[in-house]
């Protein structure tokens, strides 16, 4: 064993050089750019989220098949961390130290990724588009290498809260949220708009197979007219079923994370089937209020959905096409944009600088916050209601900040998707 480790060390200690024709940056050769990620492929967070990385990889493969970026193909190494922070640290250090990746891309989860942020910044590894809506990725002074991507939970909470306050003035509201930063931040955002005395019940849950009957019953007993759910899809479905059991029929407002109609329909398809009807989507989720910042997977007329569906059919047809697939491909698209912006010979510093100066548009419906002062991702979302398997937008996209700033409409339309997956140069 000693001999093997010595040999491996000798080859590993060679440093960054060695690959002729590259820009000299780690992970970049004349023909490839290697990036890495930690993803929950097994364990408690695997359900649903294990598909994200497969979708990103499919998108990169598609781009590579169309010539890559500046002649380089993107090699995407994603490693299982089982949503265990210790393993996140271990696999991330392996990617950085042994695999010499150019950047860490879309590392998933707050409890996991927050344990490698300091390390990645100390090593000056670009830490791009963390897959979590924690506000904590937006700290450019402390963590200049780290960038968020998805809309953060506080912004989402603010936008949902504003809508509920305006639409259901004076009605009783209840919260059902996951007891971690996702749910807690969401509630923070909601509380900025929904008056305290309007909130009649606040129930939380721990993910991991525990019964939620008690929480559902408490909310039903509070007779709230509107229930806001900051929950992952399985718990949205479980709560919906508990409400069905109790014959409790409030209006549901669900955060983007837990409202993908296709995923929910899959989870609920065995319940309350409509005999013989051709209507798509579970009747149990119709009319749910939610918010979105990406194209809805059920929106067949959207150019992005069409592109993603095409890639999905070509590369990963066995995985169900749902919100996670759209998510994984969209974030991959943003990386392609970033790599393109970093120029012909990308460096680690180059990609970070390019992101801070960027004005990317698409695939989302709102702009990014990226600048020297902010590393937050999408700045808002559009309210919508579930109809069939689609989310129908209600009004214009809204943007805001994660503090006490106002909520403003965003008027620019969503751009069209490029046919080959690579944004036009510029």
């Amino acid at each position: 064993m000693t001999a093997a480790t010595l040999a491996a060390a000798a080859s590993g200690c060679g440093g960054d050089g060695g690959d002729g024709g590259g820009s000299g940056a780690p992970g970049v050769t004349a023909t490839t750019v290697t990036i890495g990620s930690h993803q929950p492929l097994t364990g408690p967070a695997a359900p649903g989220y294990s598909a994200n990385s497969a979708a990103s990889k499919a998108f990169f493969d598609y781009v590579n098949a169309n010539g890559g970026i500046n002649g380089r193909k993107i090699v995407y190494k994603y490693v299982d961390d089982a949503y265990n922070p210790t393993q996140t640290v271990s696999v991330t250090q392996k990617l950085v130290l042994q695999d010499k990746v150019f950047a860490i891309f879309n590392g998933l989860g707050t409890p996991t990724h927050s344990k490698v942020v300091d390390y990645l910044n100390a090593q000056r590894v670009p830490d791009l588009f963390v897959a979590s809506g924690c506000g904590c990725w937006d700290e450019p002074d402390k963590h200049p290498q780290t960038f968020g991507w998805q809309v953060d939970y506080i912004r989402e909470g603010k936008i949902l809260g504003d809508y509920i306050k305006k639409t259901y003035a004076g009605k009783k509201v209840a919260y059902f949220y996951q007891n971690d930063d996702f749910g807690q931040d969401g509630v923070k955002g909601l509380d900025k708009y929904i008056p305290k005395d309007q909130v009649v019940s606040r129930q939380s849950y721990q993910p991991g197979g525990t019964d939620i009957s008690a929480q559902a019953q408490a909310i039903a007993q509070s007779k709230a007219d509107v229930v806001v759910l900051f929950s992952i899809p399985t718990y949205t479905a479980l709560f919906r079923l508990a409400a069905l059991k109790l014959n409790y029929k409030p209006t549901f407002a669900v955060s983007n994370v837990g409202s993908d109609p296709i995923t929910l329909t899959g989870l609920l398809e065995s319940f309350a089937k409509k005999g013989g009807s051709e209507v798509k989507g579970s009747p149990l989720i119709q009319g749910m209020v939610t918010d979105g910042y990406l194209s809805a997977p059920g929106d067949a007329s959207n150019s992005w959905t069409q592109l993603f569906k095409k890639i999905h059919a070509q590369y990963i047809p066995k995985l169900p096409f749902n919100g996670n697939i759209v998510y994984g491909m969209s974030v991959a698209y943003t990386f392609v944009q970033a790599l393109q912006a970093a120029g012909k010979n990308p460096t680690r510093k180059g990609v970070v600088d390019a992101l801070e100066k960027s004005h990317f548009t698409g695939p989302g419906v709102v702009p990014f916050a990226f600048s020297e002062k902010s590393h937050a991702g999408y700045t808002g979302a559009v309210i919508g209601t579930i109809k069939g398997e689609n989310v129908v937008p209600q009004g214009q996209p809204l943007t805001t900040d994660d503090g006490d700033g106002p909520i403003q409409p965003y008027t620019a339309p969503q751009p069209q998707a490029p046919a080959n997956g690579v944004p036009a140069a510029g």
Binding site: T42, P47, A51, G209, T210, A214, Q221, T234, G266, F271
Partner: protein, 292 residues
Amino acid sequence: MVRFINLTLAGITSGVVFAAVALALVLIWRSTRIVNFAQGGMLMFTTFLAWSVIDRGGSYWLALGVALASGLVLGAVIERVAVRPVENKPPLNAVIVTLGLFVLLQASAGMIWGDTPHSYPPAFTIKGLSVGGTRLLLSPFDLFVIGAVAAVMMLLTLLFVRTDLGLRLRASAFAPEIARLQGVRVGRMLTLGWALAALVGSLAGVLIAPSVFVGPAQFDSMLVFGFTAAVIGGLDSPAGAVVGGLLLGCALSYVSGYVSSDLVTFGALAALITVLMIRPSGLFTASTGRRV
């Protein structure tokens, strides 16, 4: 009061499923003195098979039949192939083998069916029953769950107490060497014991599936709570498994409803320790344990 009743009903409904898993563990413990950590994986796998039947248009009852039949076969095969070689080895070896099986079954299910959880239909509607205008947390399907577990317990009791096969099974469990000296083929009985236990487990899987969805990791807590229930009741006692399951189900429901949903697993720990401090071998094990 309505809240208390509803919490109790919710507790009983989840409790009977814990009881079924606990019973599966007790059956195996009694016959082979092994705590079967693969039980959660086994019932996950058979429930996936049942789901495949439904996914291909099969009826609920056909799927249930497939789950039970595949449970029987899986239990027998696992006993023969993986467990038989460690039955006379130090007991911890069996623990590791069953753990390895659990991991292997979970990984296999992920490979075959993917990680996305699937919907599983209930046999009857899950809309709660109305009593005096109040909806209770008790649906026709819940009644079916309770009835199905009760029926299986009765059938097993009849099998064990009333039939010659049951006599052989009990003799093999209590005193394998003596049983062999009476001509009982103990090896077969052990295989049959595992098969029966897996059958009960697969029933539990199908019954709980509508409430947790079907996925490789969706049944993990079933093993933990089922084992806890079995320990509370006493691992040598099928009746204890039932009582332990119901007690645990209600305790968890009350903790979740009256204290904090964050403390549910801690509540399970507290319940277990309380019982074990009073009765170190569970509620239903005779205090003069057989220590031959």
